[in-house]
């Protein structure tokens, strides 16, 4: 049953997947087992995105299926089970910029690849990044930006983290729109990622995950 569920989700058969989940709940399957199967499917989705067979429609639909499945299963659970994570990442679109498509994909891909992600949203001030680094204690910070104004704000954000004496606690990656190696040097970040998978690889490298 759970193998069928993994395949239904991974192959984008939404109706079938939700029907299976309801049947499993009614048949007394453990909620944790259902969520495990869903997560296994998400990892396959992430892998297919990485290989270039899946794109935005699949990521968005996978995310929707995951939300719906969690909603069905939640009432059966005292609390959502803790998952073992490789490491923590704080991510956000820098101040002045409200573009979020690219940032959301990176968030999703980090999550399905086993990272605990704190997504600060869009238009995030350097100060908010600093506070998140201090409180959430991530190993990695991801700065996203689509507009040319983001170049300077990325630089300011990196500097704010430095001023708060936190620069040596985190690796900083940047990405989005017109971001390039030139911008990476200018901003003082550790690396730039051309796409979501590059972001995941950087985070994996930095926390020493596979």
């Amino acid at each position: 049953m759970s193998k069928k569920l993994v395949n239904a989700i991974a192959d984008m058969r939404e109706e079938e997947a939700l029907k299976l989940v309801r049947e499993m709940v009614e048949g007394g399957s453990k909620p944790v087992a259902i969520l495990d199967a869903a997560r296994e499917a998400m990892a396959i989705v992430g892998q297919r995105y990485d290989e270039g067979t899946y794109f935005l429609p699949e990521l968005m639909l996978a995310g929707e299926m995951m939300n719906q499945i969690t909603d069905i299963v939640k009432p059966e659970l005292a609390k959502l089970p803790e998952i073992k994570r490789h490491g923590k990442v704080v991510i956000g679109t820098v101040e002045g910029d409200i573009h979020d498509i690219g940032k959301n994909i990176v968030s999703f891909m980090l999550d399905v690849n086993g990272f605990e992600v704190l997504d600060l949203g869009v238009n995030v001030s350097p100060q908010k990044f600093v506070e998140a680094v201090r409180d959430f204690r991530p190993q990695v910070v991801g700065l996203s930006g689509f507009l040319t104004l983001a170049f300077d704000v990325m630089k300011e954000t990196v500097e704010a983290i430095k001023t708060a004496d936190l620069r040596d606690k985190v690796k900083i990656m940047i990405g989005g729109g017109q971001v390039s190696e030139e911008i990476r040097k200018y901003a003082g970040a550790d690396a730039y990622g051309k796409d979501a998978m590059a972001g995941v690889s950087l985070a994996q490298k930095w926390v020493g995950a596979k």
Binding site: M12, E14, P57, M60, I98, L147, L149, S180, E182
Partner: protein, 447 residues
């Protein structure tokens, strides 16, 4: 019956009109000098020849297609550029006279801030309304059309925009929701009933806002259009005729939003395709009407959600390209030159989008590989681009010169290239932008 003009004749009429500019009174435009008049005509012909790919122009044309750069460079905030129309126009005029691109695109990017206030525009955040004074306006993505409204859009696209979409994105246009169904005003019986809504306070308030917005738009265009006229007398033509969009982006950008349209690809693909087809004639009509109104043949088509990484090749071929191609062909049929802007990376799409008639379109290329673009799309279409924003912002004039020289060598040596920035930019070093123009004039001469 009047003779129907062929697409080529319609386009040629626009070019000829452009070459014989008129002042607002309808008389021949008085140029500042005979040199300015010659430069004006040379610049238009240089552009036209590059686009049509029939004969080489005298040199590779160069232009700057910025977003807010002319104003940020002059030390103005975006907020000031949006609210002080006279200053906005003056700064733009000085920008063109200083940087001397062959053609310009007008001072239309900032737009009238006051008008958006009058209409309570919710689709965008702009300086003073959600973003800082020095930053550019940005779109607030959302589901302005719900998943179950496809039938309403398909059956009556214009009615959907007026009765449903506009009231959602403009707070002041709520009265449009109460408008009568206009085809109901068919004969005497029933006419009066259909006029009842116009007596209701919310509808009257909406019309009041429209009158105010209209007056504001007139003030704005007086200033901005004035800059176009003044620049023409100095020999610098505005080449932009207006804009339209790919049907997939119409739905994905401002109706359903990115998430909505991506889910619809799986949940209701047939409805999505039907809706895009219903939008095709509207998008063609919008472009042709713009070109006729402005007398400029180039119709800008910004492309967003067909870029590499958004869709698979199959999805691109099934959902994005067919209706975009119909819009492109329809614009050509109407005597326009479509100018699609392939924003971001389009490397995986080049094989598909090269299927356009030769010499009829101009493609703005951002970060795609220019050599590959030349071998595919570039066989049939002139390419506009692609000096990177990052280089203009952080590079040196020498790096820009080297980039332009290489671009002309690889892409421009047999024509079919117009040098330009690859993506819209708000910030750059002015000396880098100048280097782009000067290097093209130096290295781009055809012998």
């Amino acid at each position: 019956m009047e003779k129907q003009l062929s697409p080529e004749e319609k386009l040629e009429a626009l070019w000829q009109g452009k070459l014989s500019p008129k002042d607002p009174g309808g008389n021949p435009l008085p140029f500042q000098s005979s040199e300015a008049e010659k430069a004006y005509k040379d610049r238009i012909l240089r552009f036209k020849d590059a686009i049509q790919m029939k004969k080489l122009p005298d040199r590779v044309p160069v232009t700057i297609f910025p977003s807010m750069f002319p104003w940020t460079n002059a030390g103005m905030t975006v907020q000031d550029a949006m609210y002080d129309y006279g200053k906005c126009a003056e700064v733009f005029q000085n920008f063109v006279l200083e940087f001397e691109p062959d053609v310009h695109w007008g001072a239309y990017a900032p737009g009238p801030g006051k008008l958006y206030e009058i209409l309570d525009y919710k689709l965008y955040s702009w300086p003073g309304h959600g973003v800082a004074p020095e930053h550019c306006y940005q779109c607030n993505e959302g589901e302005y059309m719900t998943a179950n409204e496809y039938d309403a859009l398909i059956q009556d696209p214009s009615g959907f925009f007026s009765h449903v979409y506009l009231p959602r994105v403009f707070g002041a246009l709520g009265g449009f929701q109460m408008l009568p169904f206009l085809p109901g005003i068919l004969e005497m019986y029933g006419v009066a009933l259909n006029f009842i809504p116009f007596g209701l306070p919310p509808v009257q308030a909406t019309y009041q806002a429209l009158f105010e917005a209209g007056a504001e738009a007139l003030q704005w265009i007086g200033a901005i259009g004035g800059a176009d006229g003044a620049l023409a007398t100095f020999g610098f033509p505005n080449i932009l005729g207006g804009f339209t969009k790919a049907p997939f982006d119409v739905i994905g950008d401002t109706l359903r939003g990115t998430k909505g349209i991506m889910l619809d690809i799986y949940r209701q693909p047939d409805k999505l395709i039907q809706a895009m087809e219903a939008l095709v004639p509207l998008m063609i009509g919008m472009g042709i009407a713009n070109a006729q109104q402005t007398g400029n043949p180039l119709i800008f088509v910004p492309l967003h959600k067909g870029a590499d990484g958004f869709l698979s090749d199959e999805q691109f071929k099934k959902f994005f390209w067919p209706t975009l191609k119909e819009v492109i062909l329809g614009l050509i049929e109407g005597g326009c030159v479509p100018l699609p802007a392939a924003e971001g990376f389009w490397n995986t799409r080049l094989q598909v989008i090269q299927d356009v008639p030769k010499g009829k379109t101009l493609w703005m290329i951002d970060q795609s590989d220019m050599a590959d673009a030349k071998k595919t799309l570039g066989k049939n279409a002139c390419l506009l681009g692609n000096v990177p924003s990052a280089m203009l912002h952080l590079g040196t004039p020498q790096e820009v010169r080297d980039y332009v020289k290489k671009l002309i060598g690889t892409v421009g040596k047999d024509g079919g290239l117009i040098v330009c920035n690859g993506a819209f930019f708000d910030h750059a070093k002015p000396k880098n932008v100048k280097a782009m123009v000067e290097a093209t004039k130096e290295y781009g001469v055809y012998k």
